[in-house]
Amino acid sequence: MNSRTYSRLLVLHVMVGTLLLVLVGRMWVLQVAQGEEYQAIAANNRTRDIVVPAVRGSILDDMGRPLVRNRTALVVSVDKTALGRQEDQGRAVLARLAEVLGTTREQLELKTRLCSPTVPRPCWPGSPYQPIPVDDRVSAKEGLQILERPEDFDGVIAQVQAVREYPEPEGASAAQTLGYLQPVTQEELDKREGLKVTGYSGVDLIGRDGLEASYDVDLRGEPGVRRVNVDARGRVTGTASETEAVPGSHLVTNLDAKVQAAVEDALAEQIAAVKKIGGDPAAAGVVLEVDTGKVVALASYPTYDPAVWTGGISQEEYDALLGPKRGEPLISRAIAGQFPPGSTFKVSSLAAAVADGYKLNGIYPCPGSYNVGSRAFTNFRSTPYPPMDLHRAIVVSCDTIFYKFAYEQWIRDGSTKPVPDPKDPMIKMARVFGFGARTGVDLPGEVPGRIPDRAWKKSYWESTKEVDCKRAKTGYPEVKNATHASYLTAIAKENCLEGHMWRAGDAANFSVGQGNVLVTPLQLARAYAAIANGGTLVVPQVAKAVVRPDGTVVREIKPERGMKLQVDKKVIEYMRKALAAVTTEGTAAGVFGDFPLDKVHVAGKTGTAEAYGYKDTAWFASFAPAKNSKYAVVVMITDAGTGGTYAAPAVRKIYEAIYGLGDTPAALENGEIPAGLPKVSQ
């Protein structure tokens, strides 16, 4: 061996040693110095958290009858990541699945694509790592076809799951009151604080409306988390740890399925009648317990079948529910609809007049027509009556008495040049009766109605004056009817010039619940309940208690203490008697003619509100019994006619059902809602 080779072999010794030392050094850094770091990464690498949704609680009526419950269903879901790994992106699997489920591959692809601002429904709003349910009405036979051939359905999961069911006990639907569930969206996660820590995820459904939304936290329980070990392809190899889901609590409500069904049936009957005369009505019905504000029934029309929610909803279905085409059936007219109350509003105006100094026992003229400034305001059908007291004014629903009050008050307030601090007695009294503000019912989406005061007039004028002033000049050439066109032009001119002012006409209209005043049926029911209970403005409440699945009571939802009405007791007593006479000798005497008033004396007031472009909105606001009252019942139907003709019969039927006065047995035993909680079983 030459010397050069020898010395270079020595160098090679050193090089080999160095390289091996480099490896060892790096191993030390990687495994010992940074070992824990990599162990943490590895743990993340090989586990996935799967959210196990908690079984949601049921919603029960006051007798424990389930209005919403869960049914176990075979749900077929698709694992998008598993499909994505297949050569054809899972197209063949989806095609086979579509055949089994009786749909098309395209439909399944639509359902399993991920929602985004540009992707409309159907789409999946949750996490792409969660199995996406595509059908929850799978028969056992279809399920078996999938389960028996796992090789043909790689990425398809058929599992027994709990889905929402609406058993409609006694025929009661209460769709808008119950609300509905939808997969929770990222926005909701962001908006509702604390949702992340309670374990919400894309697979979770969240109450989007009604009781499902307002008692979501109680109903949903706590989802469990199953941490599974996965291999590099995401295949589950075992369970690492599991936190069991805590099932949600049941919600016992004050709703009574029988009464609810009676209200819905009564509305349906009147709606059929209204449709027969060519109307396109919306309607609402409310039953309150007058002392506590317990909501015994709450119905709205147009309505829908809540079963549409299960199994994913298509964009068309969803649009139909939201849009005006089918009358926006998701919106509860009882709490989120606002309408001019017509003569039912006169109770507030009467109390306002008396508080303003008009004698309670005074006699006032009731001519067929009363001049408010330059314009004549008339009674219904311009019927003239001899002078009468306020009792009779309620019974026969005289308008001109109230016009007179309103006009005189308006003049005292300075007419077109208002005094610095105008008294506006009727506006203030309306607020006392709870109009223009939310009732605080435990349901989302309640609207406050509208009390059009001076400030509102001004802001409204500012937003409309441009159009009105233009129309004042140009007129309405497109309107064929010359009289009508000139009328519209006159209105526009008037609005342009003095729309910002609280005018005499506004005050007169307001006094009889016409014009710009709007109330919700629930507000009206509460105001009548206040008269019935002697002057307390209650807070309506749908929920009664939260009860665990094992029957233990989590909490009872006690009625909130109402507000005392700032109205003289004598006035309330006086109105009570007057309203009691409406059904015997007044505007509702016809409807209640053969009603056993000796058993249950119904007191109430009809209302017929004009609606521009439609037939009148019919109201009947009531309470019963007239003494020691239990319930306030309000029914409203739009595009119908007089309250006496279209609303009062529905109210009559509701009372018949509650007390068992017709052919059916009483919905409520002895006419009382149950005091305690029902026995809740699984």
């Binding site: 270079r8 080999v16 490896l23 191993m27 070992g35 690498n45 291999d231 590099a232």
Partner: protein, 385 residues
């Protein structure tokens, strides 16, 4: 050794008192046996989860490979390596034939490299592995016979060596198999330096090597994925699901092993098959995860012992040819070990190279065992130690 003995068949020669078997370099053989056992366990651990039908399938084949390797070792070490000098051109020629055959329709593409010849029965041959052996022997022949009066090989020898090494390197680049090409380069460089070429040649060759690498990238001679692997080496997080995936997963597997490891067959990364090609190129990650720092250190030490035995054999070889054969084997196995472990722990770019003796794979195991046989042969006929 007499002529009579020469005529006897090799099994009878092996049992003789002064036979090669008796003169085995146990310092080489023992670590090889231990490493063989470890490799069987690691291959089993890496493959049993992924092949539920027959979890032992890879283990059985690997044990068979080791057995065949042991026979090859025995056969090669019993040959008088000096006779190999005569066969060197034939060995080299055969390896070229194999490499050319791979490029014909006989070849098969596995894992992106067209480097296999399928011979049926579930067996494939990877000629590039044997090309390493061929090159070592041929270069030793060319560089081990300096002209009279020269200290090292002359210019003509060097140029011949460059050309003869360039042919298989080029053929392997066509597959393409960057890792093996790099091993051939390491063998060539190492053997040239050891053979005693002048310093200016050494420096010139290093510069030429760097220049070639730069040109290869600049001229687009490398496939995109090869460049991507190098990019991923610089920043593995750049594309964690793509080119950087192997690098990341390998590092996670090794790093999570810690000091003592998770225990044999208890590596979650291994069971979960997070590291692709784990039984072959990434076998070291199994050791890293399941046996920890201490276990991995053991493997590095065992390979280190083998390499130092090789160097010792080179120093004590009976002639320059023997020295160069042994040194060539050390350069080959040393570079391949560094590259393979280095890529598992993120200090070398990823190229498809097996860890000598430890990785699963017939051709690689056979070639490595032949290399050990060569070392043993040189040892047995070396100067008395």
């Amino acid at each position: 050794m007499t002529t009579l003995q020469e005529r006897r068949s090799w099994p009878s020669r092996m049992v003789r008192r002064d036979s090669v078997l008796r003169r085995l370099d146990w310092g080489l053989v023992l670590p090889v046996i231990v490493l063989g056992v470890i490799s069987a366990l690691l291959v089993y651990s890496a493959t049993r989860a992924g092949h539920r039908a027959d979890p032992e399938a890879f283990l059985k084949k690997h044990l068979l490979n080791l057995g065949i390797g042991a026979v090859l070792y025995a056969v090669v070490s019993s040959f008088d390596y000096r006779l190999l000098r005569a066969y060197a051109p034939i060995l080299y020629g055969l390896s070229l034939v194999g490499l050319i055959a791979v490029l014909t329709p006989l070849g098969e593409t596995i894992n992106g490299s067209h480097s296999w010849i399928v011979i049926g029965g579930g067996f494939q041959v990877q000629p590039s592995e044997f090309a390493k052996v061929g090159l070592v022997v041929l270069l030793a022949m060319i560089l081990g016979e300096p002209r009279d009066g020269e200290v090292g090989p002359g210019r003509k020898d060097i140029l011949t060596a460059l050309v003869l090494a360039g042919v298989p390197a080029a053929l392997i680049m066509l597959q393409p198999d960057l890792g093996t090409t790099m091993v051939l380069g390491a063998i060539l460089m190492g053997m040239l330096v050891i053979s005693g070429v002048a310093k200016r040649w050494t420096i010139g060759l290093v510069l030429a090597g760097v220049g070639t690498a730069v040109a290869a990238v600049a001229l687009g001679l490398l496939e995109d994925y090869q460049i991507a692997r190098f990019t991923a080496f610089v920043d593995p997080t750049a594309d964690p699901r793509g080119a950087g995936y192997n690098a990341n997963q390998a590092k996670i597997a090794v790093g999570s092993g810690g000091l003592l490891g998770k225990g044999l067959f208890h590596g979650e990364q291994t069971t979960g098959q997070f590291v692709p090609e784990q039984q072959t190129d990434f076998i070291f990650t199994v050791a890293g995860e399941e046996l920890g720092f201490l276990g991995s250190l053991m493997i590095i030490l065992l390979i280190g012992v083998i390499l130092y035995r090789g160097l010792r054999i080179a120093v004590h070889a009976g002639d320059q040819f023997g020295t160069l054969v042994a040194a060539g084997v050390v350069c080959w196995l040393g570079f391949q070990t560094f590259e393979n472990i280095g890529m598992c722990i993120g200090i070398m770019p990823i190229t498809g190279l097996p860890l000598p003796l430890v990785s699963y794979g017939g051709s690689a195991t056979f070639a490595t065992m032949i290399a050990f046989g060569l070392l043993q042969g040189v040892h047995a006929r070396g100067r008395s130690l």
